[in-house]
């Protein structure tokens, strides 16, 4: 069902990182469901996490161990969420298993889980899984790991890049798992970016935050927020590029994570369209985002996107409920790609339904909303609400 999702190409190794995957039998059978990342000594790790009040135990563990780390251990199939003290102990125990395999202390391993919420993590297969994953550790293990962390994703998603920054060659590879329950500004889904840049603990944390703000925090599938979201950046320091090239590094890595964010929306649960929502002419970035999310989250807009119905009234409805103080409807405009649908709050004289429908028949297009209040502008990516979204989520546990 994914919308023009590019096939994952080869993922390049990142000096200082080895990756291994294995089948721990958490929930799925016949596939890997555990990924282990070995980080070279000296690696700094930054991350941003879900803002849910029901933060899952693995998130609590991971968030408390940012800074210096030697390993990441990830499972799919079980989120270990809403599992309290038991869940916390289970998360820590998996870290201890991984630490033993990696030859470091448990405190240097971060933990990540995605899958069904509210069930205790079955630890039976975990020890064997970690052992197998450790045995499989390889510089070229990224692609297999991208597969191991999938849940409802229809395909693995990862990107690589190399950049010349400050006279040094810098490598970066990132993988992501996520296709639903993704609500921006509460961090993101599970995404891991490894680079051989040399960054201080402060700089790597800034990098996670700045990259997240420009990519994962601008996409939305259904407006729901996972208890387990995390985006983690690990910098091994094998390349000579460091804190002093921060801006250049941020600029180089941004297209990489934006690409990954876009792929996540393309693989949105039940998605049949990939829609870019641009809100411009706002008095502030915040109000542009307010409107963009009101539109992107509206079930009525999303069903119209699914139907390919250029229903100007539904866009008005969503813009109207966004809660922007003093919004003047008669300054609002709407364009679908290069077709002007409405201006001054009214259907444009030149507009024809046929022209609007032609744009919305495409599997990707841009919805551009003008507020006529200022110069600010924001972009959000989203998908539609299809029968398949309902099916996937109605059948998830059955």
């Amino acid at each position: 069902m994914a919308v023009n999702l590019p096939e994952m190409g080869a993922l390049a190794p990142v000096p200082g990182i080895r990756v291994g995957s294995a089948a721990a039998g958490v929930r799925y059978s016949g596939r890997d469901d555990l990924a282990l990342f070995e980080l070279a000594p000296g690696t700094t790790v930054g991350g941003i996490f879900t803002r849910s009040a029901f933060r899952a135990p693995p998130v609590t563990v991971a968030a408390s161990r940012l800074g210096r780390a030697r390993g990441l251990v990830v499972n799919s199939g079980n989120a270990n969420a809403a599992t309290g003290e038991v869940g916390l102990r289970d998360a820590e125990q998996s870290c201890a298993l991984a630490a033993a395999a990696l030859g470091c202390r448990g405190l240097y391993v971060l933990r990540f889980s995605r899958g069904v919420m509210g069930l205790f993590l079955p630890l039976d297969g975990m020890a064997a899984g970690v052992t197998d994953a450790a045995a499989a550790l390889a510089a070229g293990g990224w692609e297999q790991a991208a597969r191991a962390i999938m849940t409802t994703d229809t395909a693995p998603k990862g990107v690589s890049g190399t950049f010349d920054i400050g006279g040094h060659r810098v490598s970066a590879t990132a993988i992501i798992k996520g296709s639903g329950m993704i609500r921006p500004d509460m961090a993101t889904m599970l995404a891991f970016l490894g680079t051989d840049a040399a960054l201080s603990e402060g700089a790597v944390q800034s990098l996670a935050r700045d990259l997240g703000a420009r990519s994962f925090n601008r996409l939305t599938i259904d407006g729901d927020t996972s208890t387990n979201d995390a985006f983690v950046v690990a910098a091994t320091g094998r390349s000579g590029t460091g804190d002093e090239q921060y801006d250049a590094l941020l600029a180089a890595l941004t297209p990489l994570v934006v690409e990954l964010a876009e792929r996540t929306v393309r693989d949105g649960e039940g998605a049949t369209r990939f829609v870019t929502i641009v809100v411009e002419g706002g008095a502030s970035d915040e109000e542009c985002l307010q409107v963009a999310y009101a539109v992107a989250h509206s079930p009525l807009v999303k069903t119209a996107l699914f139907a390919g119905d250029p229903n100007w009234g539904r866009f008005c409805m969503a813009i109207g409920k966004a809660g922007v103080e003093g919004l003047e409807p008669d300054r609002v405009s709407l364009d679908l790609d290069d077709v002007r649908v409405a201006e001054n709050g009214l259907v444009a004289p030149s507009y024809t339904e046929a022209a609007g429908a032609a744009v919305m028949r495409q599997d990707e297009f841009t919805v551009r909303i003008g507020l006529g209040r200022g110069d600010c502008r924001e972009t959000v990516w989203t998908s539609d609400l299809s029968y398949d979204y309902v099916r996937i989520n109605a059948e998830y546990r059955t």
Copy 2:
């Protein structure tokens, strides 16, 4: 598709109000789509309206004419929304037509429209429709009017009651149109309540606000907000009951509008379940509502409701994203009817999936969430997210 929606019984006349319906050919053919209410001289009218910034022209007209009124004119099929100055002129012109038929000034007629947004109202049939509706005016015209104002409703919805208040017999009849795009606290859908109580302009406005707060502002289908919502109370003064019996009148009428609100959810677009969400143990009413709406609007919770899946994790997810400051997950509890699913933030020792599934297989049940923070409590009614919700809204204009 409606969930145990009671058939509309006979609706009682309200002294001082006559109602007529007709086919004005706005959008539908072969059915009435226009309702006209004639209000006796001296009738006071109060109302609450959508908070959308894209308030539709008929809402602007109606909201400016509260106080004393002689008529209401309502059409289905076209919302006359996002239609600007032209829409305002069209709304006023329909009022003028109705006023001519009722023998009053145009300013004493309020205007209401529901249906497709963003299209200009076809005025061709309006004059003939108003003439026909005026010719059909009768004290017993309520039931036909309840049919005329339907859009995606599967059945007409109305209730009547008579009460003895302060030694007087008071009558009330109310009808409603609404089955989607209903977001509480932004007023409601189109609902009209007529009573023969004698109320001042101030009291009738308080009554509309107080009744709305206890009924229509506590239900949600999809979290979307119409540009055209309105709830109007007309008090003809034919009964001797007046302002001094306000509290008794409010108490008597509340069950009537709660019943109407519940029926609206039962007739929610694509609804297969009628779910009452109770949030208790909150530190404030506001945070109880915040949690209740976060749960009621979550697509993942709504698809679980559709599937009959007692997915405790999804409830956690929605509670967690509600934005309640300092919420402690380990004080949260969840009950499905009388089955304790979770307590202290964890699945309850006594809980079995079979017991939870048995509750959720029913077509109506109560989700009770305890926050463990205080004594406040709020209730919201909602429906599920089904294939039919997607179908109805994907096919709406086609």
